[in-house]
Amino acid sequence: MTESTVKTVPPVASPPVVVARGLTKTYDTGDSKVHALAGVDVEFHRGAFTAIMGPSGSGKSTLMHCLAGLDVATSGSVHLGRTEITGLRDAELTLLRRDRIGFIFQSFNLLPMLTAEQNILLPSQIARRAVDKERFEHIVDVVGLRDRLHHLPAKLSGGQQQRVAVARALLNAPEVVYADEPTGNLDSRSGSEVLAFLRGSARDLHQTIVMVTHDPVAASYADRVVFLRDGRLVDEVLEPTAELVSARLLKLEEV
């Protein structure tokens, strides 16, 4: 685990969609400073499905939040396409999230008073954007929600709810989809379904996906896994398998 192995290697030839340079995030807790991110350089390429892994407190969620413009980095820069999102004001970040980023969260992904269909269409409505009918139909079929469209989230299983969230994130073909532990609350079967959709959409629809997870099995669905520890990018695996990822993780924990 030397500095040289940390260097990110593009898995495919396509250009990077998200580029972070020297990203730091420091929390001031009064007497001491906590470095959640201590200088991260990373890029994510178009059509790539990347998993960010690391032990608890390694800063993986913080990294994702900073990349997505949900949180403000202390220093460093993040570019989404040609836009530098670090330094944008809240209103601009809101527009950015609305138009160019998709989100999938671990839980509480859906608004309880809206039906599955309404939830899927919500970002488009917020953005007052016309919905690509074909894409909508396609995605609904792919995630298998055709007969569940008019149900409220409370009537859906956890896996179905998360599939609604995936459909919502994919509908507008955002430049990047961030998924924060998307399978954390699901049983393994539902989880693998959701992950399969994510991988499929990366491959078939050239959707860029960045997923934070601590589950090696989930990470094995990705094209590439990057490992974080103590706010730094410390390792990276291409074409990962669950075993390989587990081994790397264990190694990280040991050190």
């Binding site: 949180d71 609305r98 008073m113 970002p123």
Partner: protein, 923 residues
């Protein structure tokens, strides 16, 4: 357990902010009312007592047993001899009497001041009154004014004022001082002039003393002096010590404050009721949100009772703290009210604030008890939830409530039906005294229905209103969905507002309907522009009376048939003579003959006599009527004359008021509702009879009335509905002249301008006609309407202000509901923000939700208010013209929107300000 409770309280203190505000405001109203009323009371007592205790004994003429209960008689005044007797008593150091009558004071325009002439009195050296400013009058050209009179008429010390003497001659006086009469009802209402003892007789014709104030001599107590005076004066006077007299007056003055206190407390009750609803909702939400916390407590071994007690304890703590703050605020408000409102209510100077223990204790008790009672239901509900079930509830499912049970629907619909039936009952039975009571009951029942059906109503209305709103944009779409997420919670929040909205709308509908009904009655039955009447005089009889003439509006005073006399009347005041004084002056007035006829009937002073109503209703001289009739600008001059036929058995008072409208074509110029027959076409030989006095006579029957020249037979042309302008027996002028040959002056002269005449010229013409008669009061109907509507407006604004607090509390409740919901939806808001909802949109979403709630609350209130306002009005007023004050209702709606926006400000700030990542991370 106590520690857990207190820790919980500390942790959630921000959640209690609005609850505390609601309780605080309610308690503030209660305590403030009590402090204000106590202060007023003390002040009245002090001012009354202060003047009374400055003398040691007070003797007032004893009221005789009235010969006829229908006619309470004024007592005989005390005589000069009696005063001398009092002065001669060894127990008495000094005594002086108050002579009192009335005199007409002219204002700066040369018109008579006031609705009735002010009291004209003299006070001696020994008196409970003294000059507050300047000096008491010493000479024949000096007078002092009551402070209130000086202020109203705009006179001050040193000014020259004109007063009419009994012969109606103008006399000028210099104002030497102002006297503060405090709250003494005899002087504070109509005002008072103070003359020197020598002048007062000249100016009023009054003799004798209406009060003798006594100072005890050295070595004698107040009681001894009073007893001595009482022994001397015997039955002719009531004697009390100054203190006892003061206490008695203070008590009667206290009656006013007691009424005001009751009225204010009624509003305080409404405010507390609304506060109770708000508190209930807050606790219900708080406890729902803390269900898991409580379940955890149960899981680690807390008993059901312990959890219950913990919630109750919490409510006691919140209630006590908020009530204490409320009492403090209430004292402040009461002080401010006394400081600013006191002078308006006739209290002078600085007002020491009275804070009684009861104001504090009642405030604390009411606030705490209401809080604890409001928390009882949620506490019971909280402890009924099985611990494990509560722990398992997921955040997603928690926010949604189950549907409305059909029992609820049936019960709710039933209440509406019962309410509607009651209202229908009042409308069928027509206006009567029970009407308003039944309507109130119906309104309460309907309100219960609204409470029961509240969640359903909210859902239904939101669904309806939501259709257009959903199209506006995502924020309003989400708001529509959010507002039906917990319909019960929303309904309770909204109902708090409904209470205030119902009351205020109901009142405004009643008020507006009353006004338009009155206007229509005036327009239809009474199409005139001006009315001329004489200045009213309270003391009644004048010296000379014409035979058997009486204002129909009066109480049927005469005791002994035709001709009625006023021998039992009080000492006649010269004022009336004054007013009628012009009649003899012009020489042609027929009153002279009347005087000749019964001048002796008024024993005290028959000297200066002229016509006036037998009961003292002063009349408008014929001269004025003629002057008006001559003006080309005036199309119609209608003289209303009246008299009374005594011994009419069908009447409850034994007399039949008879009136005529000279110069009017009945049925056209003046009209009314009839029960039978037609008014138009009415002429000599005919009579219109009120139903209540018709004694079974119908159209075509004959009514025989006595006249000085024998009986007169009149054919009933129509039977009139009771209680309207045309009343009693209405006869033609010709028949009236036969029945009452001596009555030629009018009670009232109505004037209608000619078509197209210039309004200001008409006004001038009317005023010119009464120029020589300063006591004639000219009232334009437009002014009358304005006065009436001003009065209604003042009443409306007062009531609106009082109900305003209940509405403020309700808005706090809505804000609180919003804030707590926002807290519940923290993660949801974060999710929305992550999905690209801008802060402004999030705020707008909450704003729309709050406005929607407020609008539903206000809307239901407005509907209820209009319905029951109409019902109450129609149950009281015959032929009510329903007027829905659209302008005011538009204002209510605007206020509701504003209130919603205000209510959403804090919760929205909070929701929009929260960090997305923090909110997403929180469980």
């Amino acid at each position: 357990m106590l520690r857990t409770t207190l820790a919980g309280l500390r942790m959630h203190k921000s959640r209690y902010f609005t609850t505390v505000m609601a309780i605080l405001l309610g308690v503030m109203f209660v305590s403030g009312t009590m402090v204000f009323a106590d202060t007023l009371n003390a002040n009245y007592e002090k001012s009354v007592m202060g003047s009374a205790t400055s003398v040691d004994a007070i003797a007032v003429p004893a009221a005789e047993e009235p010969a006829d209960p229908a006619e309470p008689s004024e007592p005989e005044p005390l005589t000069e001899a009696q005063l001398d007797g009092v002065r001669a008593l060894p127990e008495v150091a000094g005594a002086d009497g108050i002579v009192s009558g009335q005199a007409v004071l002219l204002d700066r325009d040369g018109r008579a001041f006031g609705f009735m002439p002010p009291a004209a009195i003299s006070i001696g050296e020994t008196s409970r009154f003294s000059a507050a400013e300047g000096e008491l009058p010493g000479g024949p050209d000096e007078l002092a004014l009551a402070g209130s009179t000086a202020e109203q008429a705009g006179f001050g010390v040193g000014d020259t004022v004109t007063v009419l003497d009994p012969a109606q001659e103008e006399r000028e006086f210099t104002v030497t001082g102002l006297v503060d009469f405090g709250v003494d009802p005899g002087y504070s209402y109509g005002g008072a002039l103070v003359f020197s003892p020598d002048t007062v007789g000249e100016m009023t014709g009054a003799t004798g003393y209406t009060e003798i104030d006594v100072l005890a001599s050295e070595g004698h107590t107040d009681e001894q002096a009073a007893e001595a005076v009482a022994a001397l004066l015997g039955d002719s006077a009531d004697v009390q010590t100054g203190e006892a007299f003061g206490l008695e007056m203070a008590e009667s003055a206290g009656g006013d404050t007691a009424m005001m206190r009751t009225a204010l407390l009624l509003f305080a009750f409404i405010a507390m009721f609304v506060a109770g609803i708000v508190i209930y909702n807050t606790f219900a939400i708080l406890i729902a949100q803390r269900q898991r916390e409580m379940a955890l407590l149960r899981c680690v071994g807390a008993k059901r009772g312990q959890v219950f007690r913990s919630v109750l304890l919490e409510s006691v703590a919140v209630g006590l703290i908020a009530s204490a703050l409320g009492v403090l605020a209430g004292v402040g408000i009461g002080m401010a009210g006394a400081a600013f409102g006191g002078p308006l209510l006739g209290m002078g100077g600085s007002v020491p604030v009275v804070i009684t223990p009861s104001a504090v204790i009642v405030g604390l008790a009411v606030g705490t008890v209401v809080t604890v009672c409001s928390a009882l239901v949620p506490a019971t509900r909280a402890t009924r939830v099985p611990p494990l079930a509560a722990l398992r509830t997921s955040a997603t499912a928690g926010g949604l409530e189950k549907g409305t049970g059909w029992m609820r629907v049936v019960f709710g619909v039933l209440t509406f039906l019962v309410s509607a039936a009651l209202v229908a009952l009042t409308q069928v039975s027509g206006p009567n005294q029970m009407g308003p009571v039944i309507v109130t009951a119906a309104a309460l029942i309907a309100f219960v229905g609204v409470v029961v059906l509240g969640p359903l109503l909210v859902r239904g209305i939101v669904r309806l209103v939501g259709v257009p709103l959903r199209r506006v944009g995502v924020p309003s779409m989400l708001a529509v969905d959010n507002s039906t997420r917990s319909p019960r919670r929303a309904a309770t929040a909204m109902i708090a507002l409904t209470v205030g909205a119902t009351l205020i709308t109901g009142y405004s509908v009643v008020s507006a309907s009353l006004e338009s009904t009155m206007t229509r009655m005036l327009d239809e039955q009474f199409p005139v522009d001006y009315q001329v009447s004489a200045q009213y005089s309270m003391d009644g009889a004048s010296g000379g009376d014409t035979v058997a003439e009486e204002a129909p509006a009066e109480d049927g005073a005469g005791t002994d048939g035709v001709p009625a006399e006023d021998t039992v009347q009080p000492p006649p005041e010269s004022t009336q003579e004054g007013q009628e004084g012009e009649a003899p002056a012009d020489g042609a007035s027929p009153e002279d003959s009347a005087d000749a006829e019964d001048g002796g009937a008024s024993p005290e002073e028959g000297a200066d006599t002229s016509a006036s109503g037998e009961t003292g209703m002063p009349l408008v001289p014929t001269e004025v009527e003629h002057a008006l009739a001559e003006s080309p600008l005036l199309d119609k001059v209608i003289a209303q004359r009246g008299g009374t036929v005594e011994g009419y058995d069908a009447s409850p008072v034994g007399s039949l008021p008879v009136s005529t409208y000279d110069g009017a074509e009945l049925g056209v110029d003046i009209t009314g509702e009839t029960v039978e027959g037609e008014i138009s076409g009415f002429g000599p030989g005919e009579v219109l009879l009120s139903e209540g006095l018709a004694d079974g006579l119908g159209v075509g029957d004959t009514l025989t009335l006595p006249s000085p020249d024998g009986e007169v037979d009149l054919e009933v042309a129509a039977v009139l509905a009771d209680a309207q302008t045309l009343r009693g027996a209405v006869v033609s002028p010709e028949d009236f002249a036969t029945l009452f040959p001596d009555t030629t002056d009018s009670e009232m002269v109505y004037v209608r301008a000619a078509e197209g005449a210039d309004a200001s010229e008409v006004r001038d013409a009317v005023y010119t006609a009464v120029d020589d008669h300063p006591t004639m009061q000219v009232m334009s109907v437009a002014e009358m309407k304005n006065q009436f509507s001003d009065m209604m407006d003042i009443a409306f604004y007062t009531i609106a202000a009082m109900l305003g607090l209940a509405i403020v509390i309700a808005v706090f409740g809505i804000s609180n509901t919003m804030a707590l919901s926002v807290l519940e939806r923290t993660r949801e808001s974060a999710l929305l923000r992550a999905l690209g909802l801008a802060k402004g949109q999030l705020r707008r979403m909450l704003g729309v939700e709050a406005v929607l709630l407020c609008l539903i609350g206000a809307g239901i209130g407005i509907v209820l208010g209009v319905v029951f306002g109409w019902a109450a009005g129609a149950a009281t007023l015959p032929d009510m013209v329903l007027t829905v004050p659209a302008g005011q209702i538009a204002v209510f709606i605007a206020v509701a929107v504003l209130a919603g926006l205000l209510a959403s400000v804090l919760p929205a700030r909070r929701a929009a300000g929260a960090s997305i990542t923090g909110a997403l991370a929180s469980e």
